[in-house]
């Protein structure tokens, strides 16, 4: 049985469709992603899963229950990591975990050792008695994730888990999430970072304007919607468009962005050699593997991060 099942799920605000009839299923132990730009409807979907936002239409089941009518039952099995940290800044790090655990009615005899275990997991043991307001952004994020695990959830919902973190803090966080995944926790992650989706997700849906535009594993999506490699060329902002016509003849697919031209090919090095032989002389060139960013560009004509 899937842990989450959505069918024709709709959320409208007035005449704006935040979520416009989406369908997906999340299997137990899976790491499932919702990838899309800001405003695609990812967070709205997450909040409907937790039953804190009522849906306009459609079917939504979490662990076989409707989160609207069985909110406490559904949320008792969920761990929620919201987009914006809402830790209790007045409390110490450890007390945040204990108070939150009490919201589930868990006894202190369970919560005290659990809090220490979670602080260790979040690499915050030394900060156990520090006030939350004294923690860095990355530490707060890890504490929020630790808090979401206090009730030993069957599903962990992570809304933009690394937005606003520096690269080092992101990697520490990904490592922690990867461990959870290895331990069989079902993860549902929203992100607008394609590298995050590639790192964390077994399977994902790509969302845009409240709708699903593609679904599959990261590799699967790249294979389906992009070439194996991409050549990125910069000719200077005034020349990019001028040479684009000539470049387009060389490949099946190309994208002209304001600052660079992307050429899609199975053998990037060979293509670059051809371009150099023709004397087009790009200022900079880079051959890389295709990513979900290219998939999104192909599907919507826009970048994930504007």
């Amino acid at each position: 049985m899937p842990v989450i099942r959505a069918a024709d799920l709709v959320k409208t605000y007035g005449d704006f469709d935040a979520v416009a009839g989406i369908a997906f299923e999340v299997e137990p132990g899976e790491s499932f992603g919702l990838l899309g730009p800001n405003g695609a409807g990812k967070s709205t979907t997450m909040r409907m899963i937790g039953g804190t936002l009522l849906r306009t239409a459609g079917v939504l089941e979490v662990l076989g229950l409707d989160p609207e009518t069985h909110g406490p039952e559904v949320r008792a099995s969920l761990g929620v990591v919201p987009q914006q940290d809402n830790l209790d800044e007045e409390l110490r790090a450890r007390d945040n975990l204990i108070v939150y655990g009490r919201y589930f009615g868990l006894p202190l005899s369970y919560l005290k050792p659990k809090a220490d275990e979670l602080l260790e997991f979040a690499q915050l043991t030394e900060k156990a008695n520090a006030k939350v307001s004294a923690l860095s952004g990355g530490m707060k994020r890890r504490l929020t994730i630790a808090r979401g695990l206090v009730n030993e959830p069957r599903v962990l919902l992570l809304d933009e888990p690394t937005t606003g973190l520096d690269p080092q803090a992101r990697h520490i966080l990904w490592d922690r999430l990867f461990r959870l995944k290895e331990q069989g926790v079902t993860l549902v992650v929203t992100t607008h970072f394609m590298d995050e989706a590639e790192q964390l997700c077994d399977r994902l849906i790509v969302m845009d304007h409240g709708a699903i535009v593609a679904e599959g594993s990261p590799q699967d999506l790249i294979r389906r919607y992009s070439s194996r490699e991409v050549v990125e060329l910069r000719f200077g902002s005034d020349r990019n468009a001028a040479v684009a016509g000539e470049l387009r003849a060389l490949v099946d697919r190309s994208e002209v962005l304001p600052d660079r031209v992307l050429l899609y090919a199975d053998d990037g090095e060979a293509l670059l050699e051809t371009i150099n032989r023709r004397g087009l002389n790009p200022l900079t060139s880079l051959v890389r593997r295709s990513s979900l960013e290219d998939v999104f560009l192909r599907l919507t004509g826009r970048s994930l991060v504007d």
Partner: protein, 277 residues
Amino acid sequence: MTRPITTGSSVDHVDAARRGRVLGWWFFAEGRLLRERPFLGVTIATAVGNPVLYLVAMGVGLGALVQQPVDGVSYLHFVAPGLVVSTVATTGAGWGTWPIMGGFKWERTYLAAAATAITPVQIALGELVALGLRLLVQAAVFWAIGLAFGAWPLASAWWVVPIGAAAGLAFFAPLAAYSATLEDEGIQFNFINRLIVMPMFLFAGTFFPLTAMPPFLQWIGWISPMWHGTQLARIASYGMANEPLPTLGHAAFLAACIAGGMAVAARTFSRRMEKAS
């Protein structure tokens, strides 16, 4: 190497949900009181300092000027019950404004709690219960200090403790219901404090009987939980002849403010939780 995080094995989620449904309000109240711990020193200093200052200034200082009995008793005996109620009720009114708005808007602690087995209605109720307990302690400290001043002629004066707390909750509940709807910076609270809470305090009959005011202004006292609480406290403290409302009438007014306020708060909390992202 860190230990693996156990998941879904030692926690009974069905039981957690069942307990949340029944006792979520208490779980929230518990956490709410724990949040007050950093301010414990200030809270105790205020709870002790306020009664001492008020009883000295009003009971002893102003009392020295008021030579003849007021309502048949000494000025200290007259003013002390009113001081308990007005002090405690002011604390209650304070809890119903910025802290409620902050729970949705700034600290966002309500949003965190709403992601657990607790419902928005239980959060509103938990706030009421936590505040009720805090006000009981504050009123009890006032009453104990009043003992030292000889402020309580009758043994039944201990009733000022629950009465004070009830007056505080009667202010809190309607204000909390309103505060949950505010989405901007809360400048409305300045108007509430100056144009609603302040007049209700001045016309609560704390320092003089409400009947001393012109009849066309007395209605301000009648709609003030502080006046009803003060009248009740005086009945218990020195056996004031309860005119014009019977004891039960004053109690019913406070109960109606609390119950009515909470009924509206249940709605405004739920609606606001849906809006807040």
